[in-house]
């Protein structure tokens, strides 16, 4: 489907490109473009970070990005262009980790499609983040289980604690 662009970008070949995302989704039919950009930040959970590494199961990740795009299209229920790109490899502070752009005739659908896509990328796509700390230590981030039984358990925990997501990302 040419209205949905998906990519995994090896950061050693070049950074993610928000301008390319805007170019892809731009269309004379569309008045609203919502984008989300995830950037590596200096601190996480109080620890000073020097960089992160992303590991991906690439063929499945790309398939999922495409599925996510189809879900966003169903949610919007009208014309949509959607761009999803995620970085892989070793990123420094300020490097872009993910770029999502959604364009639709009106802004509400664009925001909804963009939000749906980034939430799904974060919670469902086979991507793992390792954080590197100033002290030389590193650790894989806590994540979302893709395992049915554990997803259900996580949802229950979220309900009980009343926060937006069980492990705060």
């Amino acid at each position: 489907m040419t209205d949905i662009y998906t990519a995994v970008v090896d950061i050693s070949h070049g950074p993610l490109d928000p301008t390319a995302a805007l170019d892809f989704v731009s269309d004379p039919r569309f008045g609203g473009i919502a984008t989300f950009i995830g950037r590596v930040r200096q601190h996480n959970l109080g620890r000073a970070v020097t960089g992160v590494s992303y590991d991906l199961f690439e063929p499945l990740a790309l398939r999922m990005f495409q599925d996510i795009g189809e879900r966003a299209r169903a949610e919007v229920g009208g014309p949509l262009k959607l761009y999803i790109a995620h970085a892989k490899g070793d990123l420094r502070i300020g490097d872009l980790a993910v770029v999502v752009a959604a364009a639709t005739p009106h802004r509400d659908e664009a925001f909804r499609a963009c939000r749906l896509a980034i939430e799904a990328v974060k919670h469902e796509a086979p991507i793992w983040k390792k954080e590197h700390y100033v002290d030389g230590d590193s650790a894989w981030s806590e994540g979302c289980s893709l395992c049915e039984e554990h997803r259900e358990a996580e949802r229950q925990a979220v309900k009980q604690h009343g926060d937006a997501h069980g492990h705060g990302h």
Binding site: F57, R63, K122, P126, C147, H150
Partner: protein, 86 residues
């Protein structure tokens, strides 16, 4: 059959080659593979917690394979610990 389980994220530490091979009966379920992998990891990579294997999903290049599914005929599978993209 020989099943090659490709490792990702925190589970990469379970084998520096990036995969673990296990011998499994034909038509094994994912649940059975999970149990066999837990034993293997317990014996060969004790720093990896059993809980991490429990919270992980199995997948082909095409889809997540839940516990009731059978191991793919080509013996290629991936194990996906909890994800943290974005």
């Amino acid at each position: 059959m020989k099943v090659r389980i490709t490792l990702f994220g925190a589970l990469r530490d379970a084998d520096s080659r990036g995969y673990i091979e296990l011998d499994m009966p034909e038509q094994s379920t994912i649940a059975a593979l999970r149990e066999a992998l837990q034993h293997h990891v317990h014996d060969h990579a004790p720093p990896i917690s059993a809980g991490l294997v429990q919270r992980s999903a199995f997948a082909s290049e095409h889809e997540i394979l839940h516990n009731h599914r059978t191991v793919p005929e080509d013996g290629q599978i991936a194990i996906l610990p909890p994800v943290s993209g974005g």
